[in-house]
C-alpha cells in the first residue's frame, strides 16, 4: 500500500536521512550538540548523593543497603522527538503539470509525508498526521511504532484534494495536540494566507515549524504559448488570456510574492524549502534536515 506513496528511488535515499529537532535541548541557543541533560530515564548515567526534594522512588535502595547512605540513580534523559506532518489537501493541491498529468501536487505531498513518517518511526520517535482540507481536518495523534506508521500511511492513502483550507475554530484541535517544542512539518502550496498564518502562529508558540512548499512547473516557468482559460480551483474565478502575453507579468509578480513569503517565514524563524514537481523528492528533505544528520553524527 505504501509503495504507492513512496517512490522506490526516494525510499532508497531515506537511509541516509535523519530527522531531528533543533529545540530538543533545554539550553536555548545551545548549538548543534545534543542534550546531555541528566534525569529520569532508562540509560544509567551516574549516582549522586540524595538531596532534599528528590523523589524517594528514585533512591537506589540496594545501594543504601550496602552503604547505609542515600544515593540517587541518575540516567541520561530520554528525549523522544515528536514530529507532526500537516498536509494541505485543499483543491489547489490537485493541480498537475500538462507534461506529467498523473503527478499532482498532492501526490508529491503524500510521498514526502510518507518519507518523513518512515524516517521518524525508524528513529523510534513519534509521528502524527493532520490532513487539512474541505474546511476541516483529519488527525492521527502522534504515537511511535510501526503500527502508527501504517496508520499514517493508511490515512494518507485515502486523501483526496478538495475544498478550501480550514481556518479559525476548525484548527483548534491542532493546538490541543501539538505540544511545545514539537516538530511540525507543513506540506502545501502556501498560496493561502490562512496556512501561512497558521505556520506563523505555531512558530510563535514555541513549536518548531518547517515548511515544504510545493510548486508546479507551470508556476515556475509559465510555459503556456496559446490561448487559455485559467481557473482557480478553490475560488472558481476564471481569467482568459494568451500565455505569451501573460508570462512576463506573472513571473515577475509571482517571484515577488515568493520572496515576500520567504521573508515572512524567515522572520518567523521557520525553515522552508521549495519543491517543484519535476525535481527529485529527497532534495527538500536533505535541505531541511541535513544539519540534523550532521549534528547526530557529531
Amino acid at each position: 500500500m505504501d509503495d504507492d506513496l513512496l517512490p522506490p528511488s526516494l525510499r532508497a535515499r531515506l537511509r541516509e536521512l535523519r530527522i531531528g529537532s533543533r529545540r530538543i535541548s533545554p539550553l536555548r541557543g545551545g548549538g548543534v550538540h545534543r542534550s546531555r541533560d541528566r534525569g529520569a530515564g532508562l540509560e544509567f548515567s551516574q549516582y549522586r548523593g540524595y538531596e532534599p526534594g528528590d523523589e524517594p522512588r528514585r533512591i537506589d535502595w540496594k545501594l543504601y543497603a550496602r552503604s547505609d547512605r542515600f544515593f540517587v540513580r541518575e540516567a541520561e534523559r530520554d528525549s523522544p522527538l515528536t514530529a507532526w506532518v500537516l498536509l494541505d489537501a485543499s483543491a489547489s493541491m490537485a493541480q498537475a503539470d500538462e507534461s506529467r498529468p498523473q503527478w499532482t501536487r498532492l501526490d508529491a505531498g503524500k510521498a514526502l509525508a510518507a518519507a518523513i513518517a518512515e524516517v521518524v518511526v525508524r528513529q523510534g520517535d513519534h509521528i502524527g498526521l493532520a490532513v487539512l482540507r474541505d474546511g476541516a481536518m483529519r488527525l492521527a495523534p502522534a504515537a511511535p511504532g510501526a503500527r502508527q506508521r501504517d496508520r499514517v500511511l493508511l490515512e494518507l492513502h485515502g486523501v483526496e484534494a478538495r475544498g478550501v483550507f480550514p481556518a479559525g475554530e476548525r484548527l483548534m484541535p491542532l493546538w490541543a495536540r501539538i505540544g511545545a517544542d514539537e516538530l511540525v512539518v507543513f506540506i502545501g502550496d502556501c498560496f493561502d494566507e490562512a496556512c501561512i498564518a497558521l505556520a506563523e502562529r505555531l512558530a510563535g508558540a514555541r513549536r518548531e515549524v518547517v515548511v515544504i512548499q510545493l510548486l508546479t512547473v507551470a508556476e515556475r516557468d509559465f510555459p503556456f504559448d496559446d490561448g487559455r482559460m485559467f481557473r482557480d480551483p478553490e475560488t472558481g474565478d476564471t481569467l482568459p488570456g494568451d500565455g505569451r502575453a501573460l508570462r512576463e507579468g506573472f513571473l515577475a509578480r509571482f517571484g515577488d510574492a515568493q520572496r515576500a513569503l520567504h521573508a515572512r517565514l524567515d522572520a518567523a524563524g521557520i525553515r522552508h524549502a521549495v519543491h517543484v514537481l519535476d525535481e527529485p523528492l529527497e532534495r527538500p528533505l536533505r535541505q531541511l534536515f541535513a544539519n540534523d544528520a550532521e549534528a547526530a553524527g557529531a
Binding site: F230, E234, T235, L239, L246, F250, A257
Partner: protein, 387 residues
C-alpha cells in the same frame, strides 16, 4: 525560357486562398481550460495581444498550394523557349494496315494519323481523303523547330491542293507501295439550264440551247433546258439560270440566286450589288473582260458584257464555247491526286514562331497529387478525427 499566362484574369481565383486561411484561423479563438491555483498573481493583459495565428501549418500550406496551383491551371500557363523535340511520325490515310501496325508497334516518338486533329495511330484509320497538304503545313507550323518529322504516305497521294509542299524543315518522305485504289467516280453534275428571256432575245436562247446540247453525254438523254419569258416563275431544283432581259432583276430572281444558284445575266440587266468585288473570269484575246463574277448570298452572279450574238461576241462560234459555258457555271476542281514521289516537300527558309509548350497537363497531375496529399493529411488519425 519564360512562363506566359494565356488567361491571366484567371489568377483572380487566387482570392480563394482566403478560404483555407479563414478555416484555419477561426479555430484559434477557443481558450483551453487550464487549472491554475496561482491565479491571483495573473493579471489580464491590458491590451490583449490578438496575434494572427494558424494551426496545423502543414495542412494549411498544402491547401494553399493546391488552390494556387488550381488558379495557375485556370490561367493556362505556357512555356516559351523550351521546345519539345520529340520526333513525330505521321501516317497518311491509305497506307496499308500492315505497315501501320508495324509502325505503331515499334515506332518512336509521337505516332499520329495525318488527319484533322492528328489522332494517335492506335485509333482506327480516319476517313480518306484528308487535306493532306494543308495538314502537313499546319503540322510544320505547329511543331517546334527542332522536332524531326517523318511522313509515311501511300504511293498515290490524294488530298493535295494546287500549291507546292514547302515546309520549314527537312521531312523524311517515306513512300510505301499501296494497292491500286479505284479512282473516285465523280458525280456528273446536273447540267440543266433555265433561261428567262425578254422579247427579241431568241438568238441568245438559241446559242445557249446549242451549247447545252453540245455538252450532252454520249448516249445520255436530253439535257434539261427550259426557256421561257421573264414573268414565268423559276423552277426549284435547278441551279443554273441565264437571264437575258434588259431592266432590273426582279426580287424573286435575286432571292433565287441568293439561295445558292448561279446566274448568267445579260448585258442590259441591272443588278445593284453593294461592295461586291467583280472578278473577270473570261477575257477575249485582247484582254477585255467578257464575263465578270461576283458572289451574291450563297450564289454567284456572272455578268455578260456583250450580247449573246455571234456578231458581237465571236467567241460564241468557237468549238470550245460549250465547255467555257460549263466552266463558268461550275469551275473544274483542282487536281488533288499525285504520285507521292513527285510531291515530296521542299525545304524553304521560313521560321515560324515556336509554338509554346502547354503546362496544363503537368499542372493537372500536380493538382491531383496535392489533392491526395491534402486528404491524407486532413484525415490522418493524429489529427484526432477532425477532418
Amino acid at each position: 525560357m519564360n512562363l506566359v499566362l494565356l488567361l491571366p484574369a484567371a489568377l483572380g481565383a487566387l482570392l480563394a486562398l482566403a478560404i483555407p486561411l479563414l478555416i484555419h484561423l477561426s479555430r484559434r479563438q477557443q481558450y483551453r481550460p487550464t487549472v491554475f491555483a496561482a491565479l491571483r498573481w495573473l493579471r489580464a493583459s491590458p491590451k490583449p495581444r490578438r496575434r494572427v495565428r494558424f494551426d496545423e501549418w502543414p495542412l494549411l500550406l498544402v491547401r494553399l498550394l493546391l488552390l494556387a496551383l488550381i488558379a495557375l491551371w485556370l490561367a493556362r500557363p505556357v512555356l516559351h523557349g523550351a521546345p519539345d523535340t520529340t520526333p513525330w511520325t505521321v501516317v497518311a490515310p491509305g497506307v496499308p494496315d500492315g505497315q501501320v501496325r508495324q509502325l505503331a508497334g515499334n515506332g518512336e516518338g509521337e505516332l499520329r494519323w495525318l488527319a484533322a486533329g492528328f489522332p494517335p495511330l492506335s485509333q482506327p484509320a480516319p476517313a480518306s481523303p484528308q487535306p493532306v497538304a494543308s495538314l502537313l503545313r499546319q503540322l510544320d507550323a505547329e511543331l517546334p523547330g527542332g522536332a524531326a518529322l517523318r511522313v509515311v504516305v501511300p504511293e498515290r497521294l490524294s488530298g493535295l491542293d494546287g500549291g507546292p509542299l514547302q515546309l520549314s524543315r527537312e521531312v523524311e518522305w517515306h513512300v510505301v507501295p499501296a494497292g491500286d485504289v479505284a479512282p473516285r467516280q465523280v458525280e456528273a453534275a446536273p447540267r440543266a439550264l433555265v433561261v428567262r428571256h425578254a422579247e427579241g432575245q431568241e438568238e441568245a436562247v438559241r446559242v445557249l440551247r446549242a451549247a447545252v446540247l453540245a455538252l450532252r453525254e454520249p448516249g445520255g438523254g436530253e439535257p434539261a433546258f427550259e426557256a421561257a419569258a421573264v414573268d414565268e416563275p423559276l423552277p426549284g431544283g435547278m441551279r443554273r439560270l441565264a437571264w437575258i432581259a434588259p431592266g432590273p432583276l426582279p426580287d424573286a430572281a435575286r432571292r433565287w440566286i441568293e439561295d445558292g444558284g448561279a446566274a448568267l445575266l445579260g448585258p442590259g440587266t441591272g443588278l445593284e450589288l453593294a461592295d461586291a468585288e467583280w472578278r473577270a473570269v473570261w477575257r477575249d484575246d485582247d484582254g477585255t473582260a467578257l464575263v465578270e463574277e461576283a458572289a451574291l448570298g450563297r450564289g454567284r452572279v456572272l455578268r455578260l458584257h456583250r450580247p449573246l450574238r455571234p456578231a458581237d461576241m465571236p467567241q460564241l462560234l468557237e468549238p470550245s464555247f460549250p465547255h467555257r459555258l460549263q466552266a463558268l457555271f461550275e469551275p473544274p476542281p483542282m487536281p488533288t491526286r499525285a504520285f507521292a514521289q513527285d510531291v515530296a516537300p521542299v525545304r524553304i527558309d521560313v521560321a515560324w514562331p515556336a509554338a509554346p509548350r502547354a503546362l496544363q497537363p503537368w499542372l493537372a497531375v500536380l493538382v491531383a497529387l496535392l489533392a491526395l496529399l491534402e486528404r491524407w493529411l486532413a484525415t490522418s488519425p493524429r489529427r484526432g478525427g477532425r477532418a
